[in-house]
């Protein structure tokens, strides 16, 4: 039954690393993007970016110069260059919701967003929701104990914030059907629902 097979690595599934390999790594590392640096954010035609380049990202209201490759994700930039480690790397495909951040107020997965694609957008991370003066959602998570190990919590807080911004009068039913993009392995959902409802009732949407 023995036979030989040669494998360059993975043969099953589609992981981000394979996808990104196709998207930009290696000798043919290229990415179609707007012209970086000076013309950033303005439509000045497409350019091809090779290797490392310095770009500017707007994160939590501040402009940051960061070094990226075409394959660098927004999550890597946040965690390794800006030391914003609230957004978590849980799944390569973004299906856990743990890397949720806001881009122009809308929730996106930092793990599946290339850093280059985040240019020109106002990125807000869980840290940007406030530490000294925490967001009511973060406070409600504490009051209703909607956290255990806490690893999914920052992503969940951001997701709930975005959801309630869009649905400030959300009902129990709407919360249950509208917040299914975040996975919690400890099973805090029952208290997340209570926390979100308390914000609606308490008018904590600011």
């Amino acid at each position: 039954m023995a036979n030989n097979s040669q494998s360059p690595g993975r043969t099953t599934g589609h992981t981000r690393r394979e996808f990104l390999k196709g998207a930009g790594a290696g000798a043919a590392a290229t990415a179609l993007a707007n012209v970086p640096a000076t013309a950033e954010g303005q439509q000045a035609g497409a350019a091809v970016i090779h290797g490392w380049t310095t770009v500017s990202l707007d994160v939590n209201g501040k402009s940051h110069q960061v070094k990226v490759e075409p394959r660098t994700t927004l999550l890597e930039v946040l965690r390794y260059q800006l030391d914003l480690t609230g957004a978590k790397p849980v799944s390569l495909d973004g299906s856990s919701g743990a890397s949720t951040v806001l881009a122009d107020g809308k929730p996106i997965m930092a793990s599946t967003t290339l850093a280059l694609a985040a240019r020109g957008k106002k990125i807000k991370t869980v840290e940007g929701l406030g530490r000294e003066n925490p967001d009511p959602v973060a406070r409600a998570f504490v009051e209703h104990d909607a956290e255990q190990c806490g690893f999914c919590t920052p992503g969940f807080v951001v997701a709930v914030r975005a959801f309630l911004d869009k649905n400030p009068q959300a009902t129990d039913e709407e919360i249950r059907s509208g917040l299914n993009g975040n996975i919690c392995r400890c099973g805090t959902y029952a208290n997340v629902i209570k926390a979100a409802l308390s914000i609606v009732k308490g008018g904590g949407n600011g």
């Binding site: 690595g9 799944s91 856990s96 690893f151 299914n180 400890c186």
Partner: protein, 736 residues
């Protein structure tokens, strides 16, 4: 100082214990400030990514790392499984690449070329016949207990056969059932891994672990140093559930790479690797015969079970069979199947959820066969149980559960409920037991002359709220607020405390912190007594003051009292050893869960409507956090009952759903209503603290399975109860 008598204050006297307090580190977690192992970034750190084996059983041939080493940014390539190593399961790590960035490390991994010689694969853990044909079976433990004994001239084996068949002949009802539960993974959201560096000859490790105090020796053994040369830290851990007790071989390799390169190293597993090699729970399948008398009292159980713990194949689940409900006559036999899968690890309440789902389903089928209420069968059979909790406690918990579920109003005979369109509803229940012994724990408590209080304990917070528990126990004993105390946990430099496994942590730290604080306050009373002109026995510590009981005017502020210490702080260390009898903690809890489900007979989809969990845990430190643990456990039970399973390709042994998009866990919208009731009568509270982590995850699976059976009138035998399995069961039963 008089001998200190360790005890808890009564419920009336307690000022902190038993109160619904927020967890102290709640905001740190909710604002993203908490630093987990994955979040620790060390200066000049290398990122490690690994190549994992795509084959479930093979031999490593040549490994070509030249192209990988040439990738810009790659610093080092480390071989974990050299040529000629036999690989026993998919995902085992072959080689690792240390690089400046994740991108470079991943690119390096992709460029490693490995030749594999393929070997025979077997992963069909549910197929006893095929496993036997394939030579992949191993006898596991069996046990027989019979009320009658053979006479001197009877052969024991023959007697056993005869006696069992006699008991079945005597039985009015005989259930013949097949039940099972697939393997699942731990799926910690923070993957296993370490961020570490060498400081000279000393290794400093941030490890994602539930065993802060006892992983230093694992590193030391493997690296040929001694445990004093290793410091392990873990302020926060992103889930463990029984899978994070050791450094793991990639943790050791991370230290070797750091040594070799002279750089700090961060190595966290990728998600698919985490699911494949960092923890799974054994499967179990069983054929049962259960005999009962006219009244539905079980009199004989006979089971033959099989399942897999992975490539080592040793058993375990069978020891808990039949679960809690155990007739006076029973025989259980078991076979382990060796599969090309990673070796199973302890998963929250090891063996109990499977055993519960494989035996209390038979009791529910007995009720279905008799056409009677399952509640009555479960109540009646409390006469014969094997549990560390008393039958009387289950009786009360069942009554409370039935009331919260509105059982009497909602219950209908199996398969005979009203149908709305294609939807039928049903109720099911099950019960569980657990030990929850207080683990070994040491606490160093330091009280400064200026009134400052700090504690040190090498425990960890896996989500329980350990910091908060430590602070509440100290605050209660010293008469202070929790915020006035600095609690230090999460480092192997602190006094040793046991691993967080088996529901042993809250008991452990409650023991060590209560003892330390009682010892310390006794010394402060001795100093304060002469000042207040009373015996130290007349003093109490309360509301930030040390004073005469019942006489608020005769007291010192906490700061004044601590000032009596002189120039040096008071340091007390206290200790509890696991298994020592203590007035502060005990062993043995019960618990009852009842499920209400709605099943769509056309689509096979099962929806949770409600789950009631009634749980005793002795003395409750913080009801808010205790309820959270139960919510979480119940949701994990919903997960393995309805959604999650490890799916292996029977031909190649590939783990087909090792990403979160495919490894289905429940979402927020899947849980229905969950009602938690903490059962804490004085008779239970006076037993002291007992662990809670495991028990509430146990009986939900069986309760949900029984509820689905009650709805459909048909048993869907194997968990998780996926839509396809529901439809298959209906089809086989000729219902649709």
């Amino acid at each position: 100082m008089a001998n200190v008598i360790y005890s808890w204050p009564s419920a009336d006297e307690a000022k902190v214990l038993g109160k619904r307090r927020d967890r102290l580190d709640g905001l740190v977690k909710a604002t993203g400030a908490a630093k987990y192992t994955y979040d620790i970034n060390l200066d000049k750190q290398l990122i490690v990514k690994a190549l994992d084996c795509p084959h479930a059983h093979c031999r490593v041939g040549s490994i070509d790392t030249i192209a990988a080493e040439r990738v810009a940014g790659v610093v080092h390539v480390h071989i974990l499984r050299p040529p000629s190593t036999e690989i026993q399961f998919q995902g085992d790590l072959i080689a690792a690449v240390a690089a400046e960035t994740e991108g470079a490390a991943n690119e390096g991994v992709a460029k490693i070329k490995v030749q594999y010689e393929m070997l025979d694969v077997f992963v069909r853990d549910d197929d006893l016949e095929a496993a036997t044909d394939f030579g992949r079976t191993k006898k596991a433990g069996g046990k027989t207990e019979l009320e009658r004994e053979p006479t001197d001239d009877e052969d024991e084996d023959e007697f056993e056969e005869k006696e069992i068949s006699r008991l079945f002949k005597e039985s009015k009802y005989i259930v013949e059932g097949y039940y099972g539960i697939n393997a699942i993974t731990h799926c910690c959201l923070e993957p296993h891994g370490a961020t570490l560096e060498w400081k000279g000859d000393k290794l400093d490790v941030h490890l994602s672990t539930q065993n802060v105090s006892r992983t230093d020796d694992g590193f030391a053994d493997a690296l040929e140093i001694t445990a004093d040369d290793v410091d392990v830290h873990c302020d926060y851990v992103g889930g463990g559930f029984g899978s994070k007790f050791a450094p793991d071989y990639w943790g050791i390799a991370a230290a070797q790479i750091a040594k070799k390169t002279g750089r700090p190293v961060k190595w966290m597993l990728d998600r698919d690797q985490e699911l494949k090699i960092a923890g799974n729970r054994p499967s179990g399948y069983v054929k049962v015969r259960l005999g009962a008398d006219d009244d539905g009292m079980a009199i004989v159980w006979d089971s033959q079970q099989w399942g897999s713990k992975g490539i080592t194949g040793s058993g375990g689940i069978e020891n808990a069979m039949p679960y809690v409900y155990r007739p006076k006559n029973f025989r259980r036999r078991a076979t382990s199947i060796l599969t090309n899968a990673d070796v199973a690890r302890a998963w929250r309440a090891p063996t109990h959820p499977q055993a519960c789902a494989m035996s209390q389903t038979a009791y529910d089928d007995l009720a279905a066969m008799m056409g009677v209420d399952s509640y009555d069968i479960f109540m009646k059979n409390l006469a014969n149980i094997s549990s560390r909790q008393k039958a009387e406690v289950y009786v009360e918990e069942m009554k409370i559960g039935a009331k919260l579920m509105d059982w009497n109003e909602k219950w209908h005979p199996h398969g005979k409920g009203p149908t709305e369109g294609s939807i039928v509803e049903g109720l099911g229940m099950a019960i569980h037991e657990w030990g929850g012994v207080a683990n070994t724990s040491n606490c160093l408590l330091r009280i400064h002359p200026d009134g400052g209080v700090e504690s040190y304990c090498g425990t960890q917070d896996v989500g329980t709220g350990t910091r908060t528990v430590c602070a509440m126990v100290l605050a209660e004993t010293l008469g202070l607020s929790e915020e006035a105390i600095t609690v230090n946990i999460g480092s192997s430099k602190y006094p040793m405390s046991g691993a967080s496994g088996g529901s042993t942590t809250v008991g452990a730290v409650s023991e060590s912190h209560r003892r330390a604080a009682q010892d310390a306050i006794a010394k402060i009373f001795d100093l304060a007594a002469p000042k207040l002109g009373v015996n130290s026995g007349a003093l109490e510590a309360s509301n930030g003051r040390v004073g005469v009981k019942g006489n608020a005017s005769k007291s010192l502020s906490w700061k004044e009292a601590c000032g009596l210490l002189g120039i040096n702080p008071l340091e007390v260390t206290a200790n509890h050893v696991r298994g020592t009898k203590s007035p502060l903690s005990d062993v043995g809890v019960g618990g009852v869960q009842m499920a209400h489900v709605a099943v769509d007979k056309e689509t096979g989809v099962v929806k949770m409507k409600k789950l009631v969990a009634v749980q005793d845990i002795g003395l409750i430190i913080n009801p808010k956090m205790a309820e959270s643990q139960i919510y979480g456990a119940v949701i994990q039970a919903i997960a393995y009952a309805l959604f999650e399973q490890r799916i292996m390709d029977p031909k190649t042994g590939a783990f087909l759903n090792a990403e979160l998009a495919d490894y289905r866990l429940p979402w927020l919208g899947d849980i229905g209503e969950i009602v938690v009731h903490l059962y804490e009568p004085q008779s239970e509270r006076q037993r002291g603290v007992i662990g809670l982590g495991e028990p509430p995850v146990i009986s939900g699976g069986a309760a949900i399975s029984n509820a689905v059976c009650n709805a459909l009138g048909v048993r869907v035998p194997v968990l998780p109860l996926t839509p396809k399995r529901v439809l298959d069961a209906l089809r086989q039963a000729g219902v649709t």
